[in-house]
């Protein structure tokens, strides 16, 4: 088991952001985390990464309690792509992706392994063509791909991404989901928050549905996205459409 969340709770002041969530993230699977705005999706990822202190429960990573992990070793094990991330100086793309190798590097020049990881990550994210361009010369979608390559370059065995599909065109959204799947095939435990339910349903092995900080459903997409859950959590229902795109209508 890659990551085990054991009854975790997080409190923001008086407001509970997560209440008693338990889940297990397995190696080789893509887990989609869905829920309305403010359901606690980002907080769940941050809590599992140790970026958010818990008011209750424990997190285990690769069989070891999160608190027992040295900071550097944990950074090599878990890669995280925060929501709406930016590289705030107009650096060349290649150097931004190289930042993903920081947990593996000291002060010196990047090793051959670092360079290969960067080139590979850029290639996989379809960003090799603009490897030498500067971040400020790219579109929002291209920057999003570069930042995703940054997270991939780490080569960690757990990969968390918060809303990686935002800003991407439909073709690159699908490519992103393929990438996540490919990453999972290498044995990585992937967890990703998504707003697009069809994307989540089609490309995730497992789905966690959050509402108001509680875990409402946890299982294969067909179970987790049952009509009753959709109605209860999102107040929507499947709508028949002639394009077969998997449309929804508001309830």
């Amino acid at each position: 088991m890659s990551v085990v969340l054991n009854n975790i709770s997080v409190q923001f002041g008086v407001r509970p952001a997560l209440s008693g969530v338990s889940a297990r993230l397995q190696p080789g699977t893509v887990t989609g985390i869905i829920g309305p705005n403010g359901a606690g999706k980002t907080t769940l990822l941050r809590a599992a990464l140790g970026l958010q202190s818990l008011s209750g429960g424990q997190v285990e990573v690769l069989g070891k309690a999160l608190a027992d992990w040295p900071r550097a070793a944990l950074a090599r094990t878990m890669a995280y792509l925060p929501q709406g991330g930016e590289a705030r100086w107009p650096m060349p793309v290649e150097e931004v992706v190289l930042l993903g190798r920081l947990p593996h590097r000291g002060f010196g020049k990047p090793s051959l392994q670092d360079k290969l990881a960067v080139a590979d990550a850029l290639e996989r994210c379809d960003a090799g063509d603009f490897a030498r361009r500067r971040m400020d010369e790219l579109s929002a979608g291209e920057r999003a791909r570069v930042l995703f390559a940054r997270a991939l370059a780490n080569g960690a065995s757990v990969l968390f991404a918060d809303e990686p599909a935002a800003y991407l065109d439909p073709s690159h959204q699908l490519r992103l989901m393929d990438l996540l799947r490919e990453e999972a095939r290498r044995g990585t435990a992937v967890a990703v928050t998504l707003h697009d339910l069809s994307l989540a349903a089609r490309h995730c092995d497992r789905i966690l549905v959050l509402q108001n900080g509680r875990l409402i459903a946890d299982g294969a997409p067909s179970e987790a996205l049952a009509d009753t859950t959709l109605a209860e959590v999102f107040r929507i229902a499947r709508a028949p459409d002639s394009f077969g795109l998997g449309a929804f209508r508001r309830l």
Binding site: P82, W89, M91, E94, F107, K115, A131
Partner: protein, 341 residues
């Protein structure tokens, strides 16, 4: 792109960086030598250089007691301010951050003035820099809080204006209470910065304190690189963001405090130098901190030479020259930043 391309790109980049560092070092040394050789007393270079070693005669006295401290302090002050500017810009991911603009130098100046004009500096030679560093620390601590709350460019510069004006007002207040009749006229010296009439005693404290401060700043390069991706991503990359912030704050306070105790409030060096060096070394903070120290040393030495060529009578102050160059540059930077999204 394949791996060979990547490695070629990086190798080429590295050696070019090393060349530029060497060029900056030569430039700084050249200006320092010029600063040593040019002065009110017109001695030939050979007399001054032999005098520096032997210490004999009038030339020896001038070389060892006046010219050497002045040239050395120009290098130390420049390195301290250039390095502090690069680190602050890295921490705030903001090209407008700098010890002068953020009010750190003005607060250090206040500390120095309090130590000097209330007779505290006379007790031990370390009191003056200690007070200047304490003043700088207060301003830097406010910056720490600002960076923790994720303050943007505007908030940072406005806070700098407030801190700077407050420190300047308190400096004026302190001087008006002082028993020294020349205090008010000397205030100008503190507010604009000068390397006039410095002695080797000033070098004795400024050098080690700046070295420790700059060492702390240099150690933050990797962390500041990570912070360019934002705090969350930096933490997930294993960077202890609180430690990086703390080191920048203490390092800037030590380096800027020591520089200000020796030369008064010299502004804009930390603003101009990193910006000029970015096209040569790239945007990554880790690549800029050390070159900015050398660049700052070159710039302050050059300014010191320039002001003695413009006004050999010694009436022109160092801070006037750096502000004449730096302030229009600051405005230009703001205009440019406003145009970019």
């Amino acid at each position: 792109m394949d791996a060979t391309n990547v490695s070629m790109f990086q190798a080429e980049r590295f050696s070019r960086g090393a060349l530029w560092i060497a060029a900056l070092a030569v430039l700084a040394a050249g200006f320092a030598l010029a600063s040593f050789l040019i002065g009110a007393a017109d001695y030939p270079a050979s007399d001054l250089l032999t005098g520096l070693i032997t210490g004999k005669g009038a030339a020896g006295l001038i070389a060892q007691e006046i010219r050497l401290p002045r040239a050395a302090l120009a290098l130390i002050v420049g390195a301290a301010l250039g390095g502090s500017g690069a680190a602050l810009q890295g921490l705030f991911v903001n090209p407008l951050a700098e010890p002068g603009v953020t009010g750190v130098t003005a607060s250090a100046g206040l500390g120095a003035v309090v130590a000097m004009y209330f007779g505290l500096a006379a007790t031990t030679p370390w009191t003056l820099p200690a007070f200047a560093i304490a003043g700088a620390l207060v301003a830097a601590a406010i910056l720490y809080a600002l960076s923790k709350s994720g303050a943007g460019a505007v908030a940072l510069v406005l806070a700098g204006v407030a801190i700077g004006s407050f420190a300047t007002a308190l400096t004026a207040l302190a001087l008006s209470f002082s028993a020294n009749p020349y205090a008010m006229s000397e205030m100008v010296l503190w507010m604009l910065g000068s390397l006039k009439d410095r002695t080797l005693n000033d070098v004795v404290y400024a050098l080690p304190l700046s070295v420790v401060g700059l060492g702390l700043l240099a150690s933050t390069g990797r962390g500041l690189d990570g912070l360019t991706l934002g705090e969350e991503a930096a933490r997930s990359l294993g960077i202890n963001v609180a430690v990086v912030r703390g080191r920048v704050v203490v390092g800037v306070a030590l380096a800027t405090g020591a520089a200000t105790a020796a030369a008064g409030a010299v502004s804009f060096v930390g603003l101009v130098v990193p910006h000029l060096l970015r096209p040569l070394f790239g945007y990554q903070p880790s690549r800029l901190i050390f070159p900015s120290m050398l660049g700052g040393a070159a710039m302050v030495s050059a300014a010191d030479v320039a002001l003695r060529l413009i006004a050999p009578d010694g009436q022109l102050l160092l801070g006037v020259v750096t502000a004449l160059l730096g302030a229009p540059f600051f405005l230009w930077l703001i205009l440019r930043l406003r145009r970019e999204p």
